[in-house]
């Protein structure tokens, strides 16, 4: 604790450093001049100037998902703050730790409709875990500490700190690095032992146990515990979109992603199991489908979640466990080992292995009748990228091609907008990912519709030497909506055709990026090689079929056993 006379802006930066924030993605503005004055000479916090505030939030989000650290974004008052909102909502929905700093008009002007004033505090309340409007410079150390503490503990999330201009400018004597927290905020980490015992017994006594791994497994770093428990129990692991990477998808017990666009045998296994351990997932409708009588009808349901409010919200469960996924899985394993319980599930394990290889064959056989050119492109990407590469996705068909076919082998290498489904997320998230992991290849699997929503940040990549590669599934449609129009609206393509503009290669070149067009999947290998070799940010325009579809899928209103378009799957 040191007592010095510091400006609010200096306090903010000192506290950022103290909380371990090494990077901030932001855009300055009138009310933030004092803060940026400090950043001008500050080396410990690298500031990356973005070209749109939404991208600043997504980049902080991507950075957090890859590094596990809290991402930081900065925006000015009014439009700067309102532009952040989509990015904050996205991070909130996917429980990513992000701290957002926004400028605000001077405290005396708040409420007067001053220039560039917006009520950031009330606007962002529903899209944050918590937010602060700081009225006194003296409060900054406590506020900043709590912002980082709340963002990256319990169910992780977004905390916004709104900083009026005078609060940043005023100099005060204050104790830095205060640790006082809220009396009512005590995230429950350790699960209840009685519940752990019940869960462990149900799993070990079951004939057909199954684990659904969600994003909570990745964010708590519980992947080793997950693999260990799955192998011990002889239980297959299916994941949610957010859980992709929780188990290597080439592991014989992995059945890939389940749900609406999941793999047919992931859904089949959920239907067949007699004990289901769901960990770090909130049973979103994209996972469960809408016919809940097809969701694990014969199973004892066990649900582990850090957020008690998620228990019995979407699905009624038999054994609820509130706590951190890593602790819960670790405790279940410990109990089984202590009681020397063994699981003999040879029949079920045999069935899992058959299902796993049926899924693998499905992916290997892409290219045969019934599959699309998009399928073949994603197969090429699988062959080209190494297991350390980070894939981010935009939203829509491209996202589901990636989720369904891309074989993710490590946690924190598949970054996608799960809950909010934000088109335009993947590219700025890739920027954050590359900043967090500069030695890894970072590829955004994009659609032409999504990419245009945030592509102006190619300039950010060029100016800051952030060589990410954008692979566009270019079908000249808002593809997923078009697919639904084809399947459920009699091919009436209302306002989903995007026409021929722009030329993505020229667009890339205009920004100073590497651009290349690829018309055949087998050409992708060379194009990606060229892109990585160029050392520049790159855009690869992959021409795919206009009417390619991502199948199989659960139609709206359907259930896990009612996937349509499953003809192309290998049936066992």
């Amino acid at each position: 604790m040191t007592r010095e006379k510091l400006s609010g802006a200096e306090i903010v930066i000192e506290e950022l450093k103290n909380e371990g924030a090494e990077v901030a993605f932001g855009i300055p503005g009138g009310v933030l001049l004092d803060l940026y004055e400090v950043l001008y000479t500050e080396d410990a916090v690298r500031h990356i100037l973005m070209r749109h505030e939404q991208c600043a939030a997504h980049a902080a989000d991507g950075y957090a998902r890859v590094s596990g650290k809290t991402g930081v974004c900065i925006a000015t008052s009014g439009p700067g703050a309102t532009n952040l909102v989509t990015g904050l909502a996205n991070a909130s929905m996917d429980s990513t730790p992000v701290v957002a700093l926004t400028g605000q008009v001077p405290t005396a002007a708040i409420g007067s409709n001053a220039f560039q004033e917006a009520s950031t505090f009330t606007i962002t309340m529903p899209v944050t875990k918590y937010n602060f409007l700081v009225k006194r410079t003296e409060d900054l150390p406590k506020v900043l500490h709590n912002a980082f503490y709340i963002a990256n503990t319990g169910r992780k999330g977004v905390v916004l700190v709104d900083l009026p201009k005078d609060v940043l400018a005023t100099k005060v004597e204050v104790d830095l690095h205060q640790k006082e927290t809220f009396a009512g905020y005590n995230p429950k980490m350790k699960p209840n032992n009685v519940q752990i015992k019940k869960a462990a017994e149900a799993l070990v006594n079951a004939e057909r146990p199954l684990i659904i791994a969600g994003g909570g497994v990745i964010s708590t770093g519980a992947t080793e515990e997950l693999r260990h428990l799955a192998e011990f129990l002889g239980a297959p692991v299916v994941t949610t979109l957010m859980g992709k990477g929780a188990i290597p998808e080439n592991h014989p017990f992995s059945l890939g992603m389940a749900g609406m666009h999941g793999r047919i045998y992931a859904n089949r296994a959920i239907y067949e199991c007699d004990a289901l351990l769901a960990v770090g997932t909130r049973f979103s409708d994209r996972l469960t489908g809408w016919q809940l009588d097809q969701f694990a009808p014969d199973a004892t349901l066990i649900h582990v979640d850090i957020d008690a409010a998620e228990i019995n919200k979407n699905i009624q469960v038999d054994i609820p466990i509130v706590g951190d996924a890593k602790f819960a899985l670790g405790d279940i394993i410990k109990w089984l080992e202590k009681k020397k319980k063994t699981a003999n599930k040879s029949v079920w394990v045999q069935r899992i292995k058959e299902m796993h290889s049926a899924c693998e064959d499905c992916i290997k056989d892409v290219g045969r009748a019934g599959s699309s050119i998009s399928d073949m492109f994603i197969k090429e990407i699988n062959a080209i990228l190494d297991s350390n590469a980070i894939v981010t996705t935009e939203v829509g068909q491209c996202q589901m091609f990636a989720a369904h076919y891309y074989i993710t082998k490590k946690p924190r290498t598949f970054i996608s907008s799960g809950g909010l489904g934000t088109m335009g997320f993947g590219f700025p998230a890739a920027i954050g990912a590359k900043v967090a992991a500069p030695d890894k290849k970072v590829v955004d699997i994009a659609g032409d519709g999504s990419f245009l929503m945030t592509c102006q940040d190619l300039a950010t990549c060029v100016e800051n030497d952030i060589p990410v590669v954008v692979c566009i599934f270019d079908n000249r449609y808002l593809g997923m909506v078009r697919q639904w129009q084809e399947l459920f609206f009699d091919k009436r393509y209302s306002h989903t055709s995007l026409g021929m503009s722009p030329d993505f290669v020229k667009l890339a070149e205009a920004f100073g990026c590497y651009g290349e067009r690829v018309e055949k999947p087998e050409e992708l290998k060379d194009a990606l090689h060229n892109a990585f070799e160029s050392g520049k940010p790159a855009v690869i325009d992959m021409i795919v079929g206009n009417e390619d579809k991502i199948l199989p899928m659960i139609p709206p209103g359907g259930g896990l056993t009612g996937m349509i378009g499953a003809e192309r799957c290998k049936h066992i």
Binding site: T122, L133, A183, G184
Partner: protein, 164 residues
Amino acid sequence: MQTHIISLLVEDLPGVLTRMSGMFTMRGINITSLTVSPCEKDGLSRMTVVIDGSEKVLEQVRKQLSNLIEVVKVVDLAENKAIIRDLCLMKIHVRDSNARSTVMQLAETYGAEIVDATLDSVIIEVTDDPKRIDRLVNLMKQFGVKQLFRTGVTAIGRDTGLER
């Protein structure tokens, strides 16, 4: 559908009421009544929220309220284990002396006070369990309720130990 009374202990910070009521709005739950006041501890406030909903809705509400950072404690007050009070002020039209005396008699029976009177109206004040107030209000409607103000419910849990 059932009526639930939830008592909250919250940190007295700007925005806490918005955040609390916003949680209800976001989840499509209607608040029947809400009171906020200081409590026995400095820096904390007590809120009493009344909602109508199923047990499932109540469970969600209780957990989501607990998730709010400023909420220190959430107590679901069962009606038989709490003292529940509401304050009601109402202006009753009395067209003649007959009506006036009946209104005054009824008020007395209900333990209500006549706090003001004019030639053609009386103002009644009553503090009671909200269900008893409902009954009195219904009676007064026979005469004509010109204005009605209620503070909303506040409630305190009874101790469970045997009384000395």
